[in-house]
Symmetry: C2
């Protein structure tokens, strides 16, 4: 007795398992102090981001959020108010995303000043169509499309879009409804479009070309930021034929095309020149991080 | 759309939610370096403990393990071998407990030497009877019973029972089968019997008296350790009438009795004297920790 049937294994945005005879999506992710937020960022927003990142993974699979679990490891000298701010952030975000935190644990580091680590797991169900969209399934000839605008998501402490974004769960379900089987593969853009488009391409056994001039840049963002800066939490998807111009009021833009597998995985076309874009993404908090 | 019906809210060993029309148990817990294991403990055993603690929560609810999610936050100077040891620990423990880790995240602290934090979430189903046992439900007159032996669970680095215990999932299901409705409430002993018996008493609106002379002490453990040291991961339960002498080969011992609510919550009877035992439990890693 025990154990579970794994329908989509680790390596996608979420695992899909069969639990009590039903298909359930589940995933876990974490945010780490000094890496995923700047000093001075209100902890309520940090908690919101911790949950929102996970809900963005639900969007990537076209799932419907059910609930979340959370653990927080505080420094030994953390204040009671810190824990309360995080709890309040989770309560609000849980209501906003219809994904309440139903359990978890609060722990303490042995040392004062140790970095706060918040880990969140989420559970979700497939949407009304039953369709779960994975990273694998893009075909040569498919269009690479994105929702919303990309780049400059970090901003100054407490102000960046990475702290206020709304996960694209509604847009994902709308895309499934409109596109049906023409929606071939999907991912959320957390590490930068270059890296996440590579994930789509690699999982699908294709390569992909991105047209830098077509990128829907956020205000003040150059194509380099739109392609590489990350923390956008928009959707990138492979679509057979044209996508709708928008989903739930969010613009949808064609930014590239999948091609037969050939190195490199991701090419950026900039002023007619082809660049290997597979390494343009950023790792959260590494020195090359966008400002 | 979205959200979940919460049948057993936060405050028990696990939350019980209705997901896709089925009842699912879920919980999250974490282990933190310098607090939940000693320096020099093999990381494979640390991963095992991280999963086993969660599976012990499943046992406390009389659930059947389904799967787990895990995140690990490593120091910036962690070695590849550390991550591999933890992954291997999870693979083995997942097989041992029939609770495979199906997803998660590996992250890095910004700083070298930052404490490793491993967070694990587990999903479970109710057992064959459908019965889920909570902390609330003990009545005055019920017996307080425990499985196995208590105390001295910590030991030297890499050797303690807290690193090798087998969660009592099978025993819990057997107790449900044998006792049926006479099994009123249950918890796993992680913080020490005194603290966890208080959780049973408080959740049930009773008090409880523990007979120190009746405690099934582990080798070398005095009653103080059996009552207060924690990390035993045995079951404590409230039973109407006598329990079986064993469950699945594990001894079951009557160690006390629930009484009408009156302060203190937990009384230890030692050589005919009544002591307030509610504060004898230990917090992981605090200075008063058992050796």
């Amino acid at each position: 007795m025990g154990g579970v049937r794994v329908l989509v294994p680790p390596g996608d945005d979420m695992a899909l398992v069969e639990l009590a005879g039903r298909r359930v999506l589940c995933a876990a992710d974490q945010v780490i102090e000094h890496r995923h937020w700047d000093a001075g960022t209100p902890l309520e927003l940090v908690a919101r981001k911790a949950l929102a990142r996970n809900v963005s993974d639900i969007a990537a699979m076209a799932g419907v959020p059910s609930c979340a679990l959370a653990t927080a490891a505080f420094a030994a000298d953390a204040r009671e108010a810190d824990a309360e701010a995080i709890a309040e952030g989770f309560r609000r975000a849980g209501r906003e995303f219809r994904c309440p935190v139903v359990g978890g644990d609060v722990g303490m580091h042995a040392a004062a000043g140790a970095p706060l680590v918040i880990s969140v797991s989420v559970l979700a169900e497939p949407g009304p169509s039953g369709r779960v969209v994975t990273r694998a399934g893009a075909h040569p000839g498919d269009l690479l499309c994105v929702t919303g605008r990309l780049g400059n998501a970090w901003g100054a402490a407490g102000t960046g879009r990475h702290l206020s974004f709304v996960p694209r769960t509604a847009e994902a379900l709308e895309l499934v409804r409109i596109l049906g089987d023409r929606l071939h593969a999907m991912i959320d853009i957390s590490d930068g479009l270059a890296v996440d488009a590579r994930h789509l391409a690699q999982s699908s056994g294709c390569s992909v070309e991105v047209d830098a001039a077509a990128l829907p840049c956020a205000q003040g963002a150059a194509w380099q930021s739109a392609l590489g800066a990350g923390e956008d939490y928009e959707l990138a998807f492979a679509c057979e034929g044209m996508p709708p111009a928008e989903a739930c009021g969010t613009p949808v833009t064609v930014v590239g095309r999948f091609i037969d597998r050939q190195p490199p995985w991701v090419t950026a076309i900039v002023d007619g020149t082809r660049l290997d874009a597979g390494n343009l993404g950023w790792e959260h908090g590494l020195p090359e991080r966008a400002p």
